[in-house]
């Protein structure tokens, strides 16, 4: 099923995804700003603003938006990533108006109260401690991005450096809100079971008066070419040592990014994948091993990991992991492996469309990254066009020891 788009005079875009069989609706507002849009000194402010969006607007007090959605049978939340900030309200179909009224109030008239800000800063500080400072895996992931990107804003964590969290001011937040929360920089998705005409009128009424502002051209640094491995080793109180490695890859939507989607499946898609078989099954060097792909606006990141099994040799595990990944692109890939990966990716797409919320997310992601809300519908065909030759090409360009970025975490007192 295809989406429909309409645009208000102020440039605010709405995408309708009609699913008459849905039990509810999902309202999603996608802000085209994330940690990529920050500068040193205020890292994490996109995420902090996401928190403040729940802390009161002109008509509604702190947490009242959330309480009203829940009191009407709905659920809501928001998340910030490197490129974007997304807010959503999943509601029974008859509550479309409520969702739009609430969203319109905070997007057009956010309070940003100083006292609320100071308390919420502590909440975010706690969140950072939980996700990163007291989590070996969170810490390693933060280091991995910092190594892989040295000039581009993907270098810093979405939640922000600790010292920045402690030093933001309410003025920083107000400036950021004014700059990025504007009708041309946000789009709306309504997915599920709703009346098209009623929805259109409601959107016009609630977002039509949102003032358009001139968007600045962002000047985002490009990554310099990487000509040598970057490596860091941290000592922490961990029981099991582990390794995370990443290679910088092309952005979302490119043909090369699709090749990496497939490569990731062959290398780590299930218990029959290459990394699992070699590291977890055959040699039993790793308790767990695999990989993943991040696809962003400006770059991507292809990463692999291995967590050592008890009593096994760490260097043997690390060597086996690198051999498996770096040997893959220049080695022999079987047609069946390619077909398996494509089957997995297609099945995942179907599964994502079973829920109204995740279907809306697919549309949002497609539109945000490619400008085509129905891009996800084309993905299966695009995957089919990838051939064995494509792997050799991307491997030569992006995957080798000198392009590798590695974080190793070992227990204190051990080498």
């Amino acid at each position: 099923m295809k989406t429909e788009k309409f645009v208000l005079d102020n440039g605010f875009e709405t995408l309708f995804l009609k699913r008459n069989y849905s039990a509810g609706i999902s309202i999603q507002l996608w802000v085209k700003a994330g940690s990529r849009n920050e500068i040193p000194g205020i890292t994490g402010i996109s995420h902090m603003l996401e928190h403040m969006m729940f802390k009161g607007s002109k008509k509604y007090g702190p947490q009242e938006h959330a309480q009203l959605v829940q009191a009407n049978g709905g659920e809501l939340n928001a998340f910030t990533s490197n490129d974007r900030t997304v807010y959503y309200d999943n509601l029974p179909p008859e509550k479309l108006s409520l969702g739009l009224v609430l969203e319109s109030d905070r997007f057009l008239r956010l309070s940003l109260d100083e006292k609320e800000f100071q308390t919420e800063r502590q909440v975010v500080y706690e969140e950072r401690k939980m996700r990163t400072d007291n989590s070996p895996y969170g810490k390693a992931m933060e280091m991995l991005f910092a190594l892989t990107f040295i000039a581009h804003p993907y270098h810093w964590p979405v939640i922000g450096w600790e010292s920045d969290i402690l030093s933001w001011t309410i003025e920083d937040l107000r400036a950021y809100y004014k700059k990025f929360y504007s009708p041309e920089n946000v789009f709306l998705i309504i997915a599920g079971n709703f009346d098209r005409e009623k929805a259109r009128l409601l959107v016009e009424k609630k977002f039509g008066k949102w003032k358009k502002i001139e968007l600045d051209n962002l000047r985002i640094p490009k990554e310099p070419e990487q000509n040598g491995e970057r490596f860091t080793e941290l000592k922490m109180r961990v029981e099991l040592p582990f390794v995370f490695s990443a290679y910088r890859t092309p952005p979302y939507g490119s043909r090369e990014a699709l090749v990496f989607d497939i490569a990731e499946r062959i290398l780590s898609g299930g218990e029959s994948s290459r990394i699992y078989r070699k590291l977890v099954y055959d040699t039993q060097l790793a308790l767990s091993a695999g990989g993943g792909v991040y696809s962003f606006l400006d770059y991507g990141l292809f990463f692999v990991y291995g967590i050592l099994n008890r009593g096994k040799d760490f260097n043997s595990m690390k060597r086996a992991l690198f051999e498996e990944v770096e040997g893959f692109f220049s080695g022999v890939i079987k047609e069946e492996e390619l077909e398996k990966a494509k089957n997995q990716l297609k099945a995942e797409l179907v599964k994502s469309t079973e829920k109204t919320f995740s279907h809306g997310m697919l549309v949002g992601e497609s539109y945000f990254y490619t400008g085509n809300p129905d891009f996800y519908l084309k993905k299966a065909t695009l995957y089919d066009s990838i051939t064995l030759n494509d792997f050799k090409e991307v491997g030569e360009k992006f995957i080798s020891e000198i392009k590798r970025n590695t974080v190793v975490i070992k227990p204190e007192g051990k080498r």
Partner: protein, 436 residues
């Protein structure tokens, strides 16, 4: 019984002792199969914690016709999702795959359920992984705190018989084979096939599971109890934040009017942004990013717990504030508006939370396991509408007032110890530095 609802068309069956349901929803292009065994922790002999989970994992690690790798290869090839897991009261096997692959996946399902061989070498692999996973858990303060809480709140009861490296190492292939032979019987199973089904697929699946042996009886287990006061501190000297679990004995899921418990807990700490705990401890005081309360209610008892975390310096403040919220709730009760909002949440959200056939399958299995009746999925919303404020407040006094409390903190002991006097009502603190 047949019902047509937004959940799809549900047909319940009882085929020669095997009970279950067929949930049909056309157009999706996918099929789900879920098989539940009515048995969980009570299947693990004392000192053999983790047996039921290892058994569940081993079901896909080799059959008469296929090796473990061949099974993984075939399921992965068709992009099928599968999950085999044991929980407190049940073991659930579930598959999700595209309808177009049914003919290829069906023989695998048949082999997995009817001809598992539990190879010794595969068992040794899984045992090593299970042991390593337990050490990995120690690296996660949150998982570690929950593990210590569960182990202590249920102590000698089967629910407290958790896996340890020692218990895993003692499990034998014979015990796994024995478990399979004893529990794969119609009376102990519940089957839900769901999704984009047609008559041929439905008939084939029901015929397959009709081959299961008859009989089977659930093991009787005493009710779990918790008495006394206990305060356990797991010292992680490099921590800058503490994980907190506090709670007491709860109640079995089959408790009459359980919907009152759900509403009461929603208002107290289960309702996310609408809950009192989140409002007081996070939104107003900024002492945590997350705090929630839950009644973990099972077949033979349960527990109530508050799960939270706070930076080292404010750990004790967060616990005291949590206690104050709890005391105020017991003393003054909920407000009309809080109950009205909680009821509206459940009434509206129950439909949204059952959007996919797999969601519906989960609910049906839950209803079966806790004897809630086949019509539970249709009637549940109505039960919430009837709850009165006086009932919520009565339940709060009855089920939240226990003096027999357990507190678990995972954090930096040396930096907190001087403040622990404020937590005297939990008894003397026991500090541990190593779990295994």
């Amino acid at each position: 019984m047949k019902k047509n609802d937004i959940f799809g068309k549900i047909d319940f069956f009882d085929n020669n002792g095997l009970k279950g349901a067929v949930v049909k929803r056309g157009g999706l292009g996918s099929i789900s199969i879920s098989l539940m065994i009515k048995g969980g922790d009570e299947l693990n002999p004392l000192g053999k914690g983790g047996l039921s989970n290892l058994f569940a994992t081993m079901m896909s690690k080799g059959t008469k016709k296929f090796s473990s790798l061949e099974i993984a290869e075939k399921l992965d090839f068709f992009g099928a999702d599968f999950s085999f897991k044991a929980d407190k009261d049940s073991i659930i096997f579930s598959f999700w795959f595209l309808k177009e692959h049914f003919d290829k996946i069906f023989p695998l399902i048949e082999e997995i359920f009817f001809s598992p061989t539990f190879p010794e070498d595969e068992l040794n692999r899984e045992k090593l992984k299970s042991v390593s996973s337990l050490y990995q858990m120690v690296d996660s303060p949150s998982a570690l705190a929950s593990y210590i809480f569960t182990m202590n709140i249920y102590s000698a009861h089967p629910y407290g018989n958790l896996p340890t490296p020692e218990s895993i190492s003692k499990i034998t292939r014979g015990e796994i084979v024995n478990l399979y032979e004893n529990i794969f019987k119609k009376n102990l199973l519940y089957l839900v096939v769901s999704g984009d089904l047609n008559a041929k697929i439905e008939a084939k699946l029901l015929k397959l599971f009709d081959k299961l042996p008859s009989g089977g009886e659930e093991k009787k287990v005493e009710k779990a109890m918790y008495r006394g006061k206990k305060f356990i501190f797991f010292d992680k000297p490099d921590s800058t934040q503490s994980q907190i679990r506090l709670g007491f004995e709860g109640l079995p899921r089959e408790t009459d009017r359980y919907e009152v418990i759900n509403l009461m807990n929603y208002i107290l700490g289960g309702g996310g942004f609408s809950s009192r705990l989140l409002l007081k401890v996070r939104t107003e005081a900024g002492l945590t990013y997350s705090t929630s309360s839950s009644f973990d209610s099972y077949k033979n008892g349960g527990s109530f717990r508050v799960s939270s975390f706070s930076k080292t310096e404010t750990t004790v403040d967060a616990i005291i504030l949590t206690e104050n919220v709890l005391s105020e709730f017991i003393e003054k009760g909920a407000k009309d508006k809080e109950l009205k909002d909680a009821k509206s949440f459940y009434v509206g959200n129950l439909t949204l939370s059952l959007e996919t056939p797999l969601d519906v399958a989960g609910k049906l299995m839950f209803a079966e396991r806790y004897n809630l009746g086949n019509d539970f999925v249709f009637k549940e919303r109505e039960t919430y509408k009837r709850v009165k404020l006086s009932e919520v407040n009565l339940f709060a006094k009855k089920y939240l007032s226990s003096k027999n409390r357990l507190l678990v903190i995972v954090g930096n002991f040396s930096k907190i110890k001087n403040q622990l006097k404020k937590l005297e009502n939990y008894g003397k603190v026991s500090v541990i530095e190593k779990l295994f």
